[in-house]
């Protein structure tokens, strides 16, 4: 963090002490969510998501693979994330950073734990299944990549059309009609704790000022994944009340997802 970030963090803290957020949002308000499904027609599924100033592009590709040894009747799912150097001055090229690995694994965990993809529908024949690759491309970083990436991944899956199996490990990508079978949708909510305040969907300045962060992923009824981050802490009662907020926020984001598909 440079000098500007420290000054900005202090400003954010002073405002929060008065109960005000830098951009005037409510404590548990999301920034505007804009979803552009099908942004990359070559990919089987794709979506660009703008969560305030954060922009994430997700492409979902589907190809023929061998199943995992422990799940011979199920398709495979792989989630990766790239924090592209063009997304922020502090992102560098090179091998995946712990931050990008954590991002991809938390998105993976929510989608996998809630059985969002009907992996059994991806079975082709003995020893052959469809593999779904979800690639998260961060194009502009303005805070809260977890929620933006989960929304974009869900939108890309909802938008995905399956290729047709041609035999001999080959897929016909020209024929893509039937949708990818989904069983549920997850919504991710990320909270930042800054001194004594806890707020939803931190922007980049709020993230820089944050002591702790927690992401809670739900399917609207149950918690499906959680991940705490940064050096600060939460009390168990804070976690309990954030689970409530997360469950309450589910429908709000889900309806944005659904209306974007029309």
């Amino acid at each position: 963090m440079g000098a500007f970030d420290i000054v900005k963090s202090n400003y954010i803290k002073e405002l929060l002490a008065k109960g005000v957020r830098e951009d005037g949002r409510k404590t548990f308000g999301f920034r505007s969510i804009k979803i552009t499904p099908g942004a990359i027609p070559h990919a089987e599924g794709s979506a660009m998501v703008d969560l305030g100033g954060t922009r994430v592009l997700v492409g979902a590709k589907v190809q023929v693979e061998e199943p995992m040894p422990d799940t011979p009747k199920q398709g495979n799912l792989m989630v990766s994330a790239e924090l592209l150097p063009l997304a922020h001055a502090e992102f560098e090229s090179g091998p995946p950073s712990p931050e990008s690995i954590e991002l991809s694994r938390v998105v993976d965990r929510g989608i996998r734990a809630a059985n969002c993809i009907d992996l059994e529908s991806l079975f082709i024949e003995e020893g052959k299944v469809w593999a779904v690759f979800i690639d998260i491309y961060v194009l502009n970083y303005d805070g809260n990549l977890f929620d933006a990436a989960t929304i974009a991944a869900m939108a890309a899956l909802m938008n995905a059309k399956m290729p047709v199996y041609k035999g001999e490990d080959k897929a016909d990508y020209e024929k893509r009609e039937s949708p990818l079978k989904l069983k549920s949708a997850v919504v991710s909510t990320t909270f930042a704790k800054i001194e004594n305040s806890i707020l939803l969907d931190p922007n980049i300045h709020e993230e820089n000022a944050a002591d702790a962060r927690v992401t809670i992923v739900t399917d609207g009824k149950s918690v499906r994944a959680m991940q705490k981050g940064l050096g600060g802490s939460f009390s168990t009662s804070e976690i309990e009340s954030l689970v409530d907020v997360s469950l309450e926020k589910y429908n709000e984001v889900k309806s944005v997802l659904e209306s974007s598909m029309k």
Binding site: V223, S233, D244
Partner: protein
């Protein structure tokens, strides 16, 4: 989580496969200061887990550009030996899981290590899983806390970690590998026992709001026994009392 088709019966008549009740920890043994070269170290046997933790530092942070003039930085590396699991030979080198665990472990310790006491320094934490049987990240944190204390590093608290899981409708503490493989949820947590603060929280699977609440309470309760074993291990090496060797 493995496929449900070949799922064994994990709970029979309110007992788990290894005979434990839902709130019972596996046998836990902690030994402090087990390695000569490290500034601090600990060895933990927790069920069939065998884990070594070692701490080096505080020392000058390298390379120089990572130095923070006002506080120490923590580097943490969790890794599993290629021979540590039942079944196939593991791949050596850090995988994505190990990198994530290293990151969340580091963040848990950043909360309690008094970083401002060591400006410009780094503190290295190495966690080596020699044998794994479920719950290795929790066992690694529990070991590393003792290793940091035995290195004499200033800390606000001696933290511990343990996982709570869900098998069918039951919440169970400290799952072993077979339970972990077929469980419906897993929620590892690290706790600062002096105030009950949550320093590490991960979860996947399916849990209702009330199950999250009950699970967290089980982790806090189990911590009393874990903390005592950690402190006993340190006392054994460092106290001048009747159990200590008066180092």
């Amino acid at each position: 989580m493995a496929s449900k088709a070949d799922k064994p019966e994990l709970i029979i008549g309110n007992k788990r496969l290894d005979g434990r009740g839902f709130n019972d920890l596996r046998p836990l043994k902690v030994e402090a200061s087990v390695l000569k070269n490290a500034d601090g170290s600990a060895y933990v046997e927790w069920g069939n887990n065998k884990i070594l933790a070692a701490v080096f530092g505080p020392k000058e942070a390298m390379p120089k550009h990572v130095q923070d003039p006002v506080k120490a930085i923590i580097k943490c590396k969790y890794s599993m030996a290629p021979f540590s699991s039942m079944g196939e030979h593991g791949r050596s080198g850090p995988n994505r899981r190990a990198i994530e665990i290293s990151k969340v472990t580091r963040e848990a310790f950043e909360n309690v290590v008094m970083l401002n006491d060591y400006p410009g320094s780094e503190i290295d934490i190495f966690i080596e899983v020699l044998q794994s049987d479920g719950g290795t990240r929790a066992a690694g944190i529990t070991a590393a806390a003792v290793a940091l204390a035995s290195a004499g590093i200033h800390m606000k608290d001696l933290i511990y970690a343990v996982s709570v899981g869900k098998i069918g409708e039951e919440l169970v503490i400290d799952m072993n590998m077979i339970e972990d493989n077929y469980s419906d949820s897993d929620m590892p947590m690290a706790i600062s026992p002096r105030n009950g603060d949550v320093l590490l929280l991960q979860m996947d699977g399916i849990m209702s709001k009330s199950e999250v609440k009950k699970g967290m309470a089980m982790v806090l309760e189990a911590g009393k026994a874990i903390s005592k074993i950690q402190k006993d291990a340190l006392n054994k090496v460092y106290s001048r009392g009747e159990n200590g060797n008066g180092v």
